[in-house]
């Protein structure tokens, strides 16, 4: 039987105050199984009464070895593994992988594919934020918001299921475009979401935004300023809540985000409430982007027409010998990008998600490293939580919106 491998306090003594060793302050182990650590995060807290003096995050309880596993699979097969990393933004994991592969192989995804990608990505962001608003409100004890948010999330998952047949792990975005074109019902389904959502977001706000208890629990809690945030590489809504309007979608656009008109919401408070406001506003902006993308959804192919990298359509395999050969080669041997390494980033709901991909001229990635936004967010937990109450700590964990699959990979 495996044993739980514990740190002793002596090993962590450089992280705690000397009082912890003498028992003057209480060391509390929170997690890995705890209702509000959003998965299997473990926090070792040093408490004086209920005041958090120190907080040492311990991660790795969901370490899956995805990076190692990807090295052993061809480029097409490795993509499937990426879905399960940031499991709240699966489309984004696929996208950053596809962008990196496209950069390596100089593939171009067609305009229609880009527009559909944008729609799906913004819907993904919306569902991620929905789960965040639900769980973070649940952490503060407001349970109804969670169930309302989950109800709305189902609408988005229905769209994912419509296009790909899977609710979460879609692998719908492929290098060079999409797996296939979307069905005809897609536009109507998305249109419905665009119509319904602003009202639903209003209803969450009605429950939370002006609620005195909610404001009391969130204002001035877990503060961080822009300088610290940048030094600790914090991105996404947490950075934007400090006042810096940094968004990869605007700064380094991908998938044609430059064509869409949207704002980057910012707040200057840098606290839990600021992050809440930024995310809620981001949900509205996402709806706006989806609406624009839907209105000018172009027609055309959804995959690059390069048979060395992109599998031919199913219909061609039966009639064209070349298509059959390409298909066979692609799914047995895989494609071979040139030697070199690239770095691609996208804006995930949590911040900047990057992929460092190195190719050694073989059909398998030589090294893939995901730069995930949740790692820096967790890393600043000691800074955010210093001097706060245990109850605030819960609110802070909720507000930075970590996904443990994202940190541990």
């Amino acid at each position: 039987m495996r044993e739980i491998q514990e740190f002793t306090l002596d090993e962590l003594k450089h992280l705690f105050s000397p009082k912890a060793l003498t028992g003057e302050t209480m060391v509390l182990n929170m997690g890995p199984q705890h209702p509000s650590t959003h998965g299997v995060l473990r926090l070792i807290l040093e408490l004086d009464g209920e005041i958090v003096l120190n907080c040492v995050p311990d991660i790795g309880y969901l370490h899956t070895g995805i990076e190692k596993n990807m090295e052993g699979k061809t480029y097409q097969k490795a993509e499937v593994l990426t879905d399960r990393m940031d499991y709240m933004y699966t489309m984004g994991n696929n996208l950053v992988y596809c962008l990196a592969v496209e950069k390596l192989t100089e593939l171009k995804s067609p305009a229609r594919a880009d527009a559909i990608r944008v729609i799906l990505l913004e819907l993904s962001r919306l569902q991620s934020h929905l789960l965040w608003i639900g769980t973070s409100a649940l952490d503060l004890g407001a349970m109804s918001v969670f169930l309302y948010a989950m109800r709305e999330r189902e609408m988005i998952l229905d769209v994912f299921e419509l296009v790909s047949g899977q609710r979460m792990m879609t692998t719908f975005i492929r290098p060079g475009g999409l797996w296939r074109d979307v069905p005809v019902e897609f536009e109507a389904a998305v249109k419905k979401i665009v119509e319904v959502f602003p009202k639903r977001i209003d209803s969450y706000e009605a429950l939370l935004t002006k609620n005195p208890i909610f404001m009391d629990r969130t204002k001035g809690i877990g503060k961080i300023d822009t300088k610290t945030a940048l030094a600790w590489d914090v991105t996404g809504p947490t950075l934007r809540a400090t006042g810096l309007a940094h968004d990869i979608r605007k700064a380094n656009p991908y998938c044609g985000y430059e064509q869409y008109d949207f704002d980057i919401p910012t707040q200057t408070t840098g606290d839990v409430y600021g992050r809440y406001q930024v995310r809620v506003e981001e949900m509205r902006q996402s709806v706006r982007i989806v609406e624009q993308a839907l209105n000018k959804l172009p027609y055309g192919p959804v995959r690059d027409n390069n048979p060395k990298f992109v599998p031919p359509p199913r219909s061609e395999i039966g009639v064209s010998m070349e298509a059959l050969i390409h298909h066979f080669k692609l799914w047995t041997e895989g494609f071979i990008p040139p030697v070199g390494s690239v770095y691609c980033t996208i804006e995930s709901p949590r911040g900047e998600m990057g992929l460092f991909l190195e190719s050694d001229g073989s059909p398998k990635p030589y090294r893939a490293h995901y730069r995930t936004p949740s790692v820096p967010l967790l890393q600043i937990m000691p800074i955010l939580s210093k001097g706060c109450f245990v109850a605030d700590l819960i609110g802070i964990i909720g507000s930075i919106d970590i996904v443990l699959g994202d940190t541990d990979r």
């Binding site: 740190f7 190692k68 070199g340 770095y343």
Partner: protein, 170 residues
């Protein structure tokens, strides 16, 4: 190469003996390992690269010198540009100075590299394993570390493999 990158690239190239290469628009500078901290400091202070976007390592296994490449990717929120540094690290005793003093967020990234790649960071404040249990043996992301593949059981070899399987409930 983006023109805005020019001053930084030329300065680093000249002052720290860097070799510049470009692939698909990504600029990479190979900096000697002992100068990496000075180069990163210059990059941060003089050229506004205020974020260490990613830090990782690549293992080119059979060769020993340099077996590892440390990869640092910097980002500037002013110019929205990325710049990559690479530092070769010898495989016999892999160690390099910590980036923590320049970019504090390197703390966990270096712990992760130590955990998975086994590169030691000198001067690091808290070099423990990050992802794996504290008493794990080996560094899984090294190319000479097996994936830990477990055989797939079919009907014909089910019993053989079953015997070798660890059983938790004993």
């Amino acid at each position: 190469m983006n023109e805005l990158l020019n001053p930084a690239v030329f300065a680093i190239q000249a002052r720290f003996n860097g070799q510049v290469s470009e692939f698909r628009g990504d600029v990479t500078i190979l900096v000697p390992a002992e100068k990496i901290i000075a180069a990163a400091t210059a990059l941060r202070d003089e050229f506004d690269f205020d974020m260490l976007s990613a830090e990782t390592a690549v293992d080119y296994c059979p060769q020993t010198n340099p077996r590892f490449h440390m990869v640092y990717i910097f980002y500037s929120t002013k110019t929205h540009l990325y710049l990559t540094f690479r530092a070769p690290v010898n495989g016999d005793d892999p160690k390099i100075a910590t980036m923590e003093t320049v970019y504090p967020n390197a703390n966990w990234r270096e712990r992760e590299i130590w955990d998975l790649m086994g590169i030691r960071f000198e001067g690091h404040s808290d070099l423990r394993r990050l992802l794996l249990p504290p008493n794990w043996v080996g560094h899984p992301l090294r190319k000479d570390y097996p994936l830990g593949y477990e055989e797939v059981q079919y009907t014909f070899n089910f019993d053989d493999i079953d015997l070798r399987k660890p059983k938790g409930v004993r």
